[in-house]
Symmetry: C2
Subunit: 160 residues, 2 copies
């Protein structure tokens, strides 16, 4: 985490051992046609290739009812990213911007989020369009999309 | 993680020790007026109260440039949630649905996501509207909103 050798001019990083405040369990793995970072689109596209979200066996029952949603949100672990950059230079020109002002995979907690279209479910596998991540990316969470969910979550009475 | 005493009729849970596949570092804390779960709205609202997102000192430089975005995405750790439920009964009526078909805080990796409106930045604090989480919720990530970000991320040449 303190390797300065491969950062770009102007980039800055933290130099302390990070705290381990909470842990994640991987609940599946994502299969995409993107085998290198250069293959990955900058962002997923609605008309992108069909990708396969494989949910590990023990969690398969938690998919019950997912078919009702056309759009779902996926969270995944960008496991090949360094985590210590404070500022980054996406264009390698020495001009930097803060990590939190970028959707770069390099971040203190490298979690990617995507809204994807659920094409269909086959058992414990979801076939989706709209992903941008590398093949083999660990899966962290699946949620109905906020927008898709809205009609099903009326306001609680008495809570503003 | 194997306490069945407080689950609702029909709910199911996992009974094995979960793997610790990756760890998170908390990068800040969220201050909201919601002190109990009953206070929390089911979802954040654009016209909800102003909440304060406090970024811990070491990560403050990573906020550089965030002011350019009107809408940002926040990820936070729902630290008071159990993590072992496969199916849940939101209405406590014995009818269950899979955890991944709900936006419940109870999930294997209890990460909340919200799109919020950035009202203003004051140093290492962001004042935002649109949150639904409890006061004191640990902050995990800040990203420009996907939609807000789109115009700044043209397609890479040669990548479909």
């Amino acid at each position: 985490m303190t390797d300065d050798s491969d950062i770009r001019p102007g980039e800055t990083c933290l130099h302390h051992a990070p705290p381990e405040d909470a842990w994640l369990q991987f609940i599946g793995v994502i299969h995409t046609p993107f085998l290198t970072r250069a293959d990955c689109p900058r962002q997923g596209r609605a008309n992108g290739p069909v990708c396969e979200v494989e949910v590990f066996g023990p969690w398969a029952p938690a998919l019950e009812g997912i078919d009702a949603f056309e759009t779902i949100e996926l969270l995944y672990w960008l496991d090949r990213s360094r985590r210590d950059l404070l500022t980054q230079s996406p264009k390698s020109d020495g001009r930097t911007v803060g990590t939190f002002a970028l959707r770069s995979p390099v971040r203190p907690n490298p979690i990617g989020t995507a809204r994807v279209r659920l094409e269909r479910r086959e058992g414990n596998r979801l076939l989706v369009r709209g992903l941008d991540c590398l093949d083999g990316t660990p899966l962290v969470d699946i949620k109905p999309d906020r927008c898709a969910f809205t009609p099903q979550a009326p306001d609680k009475p008495g809570v503003s």
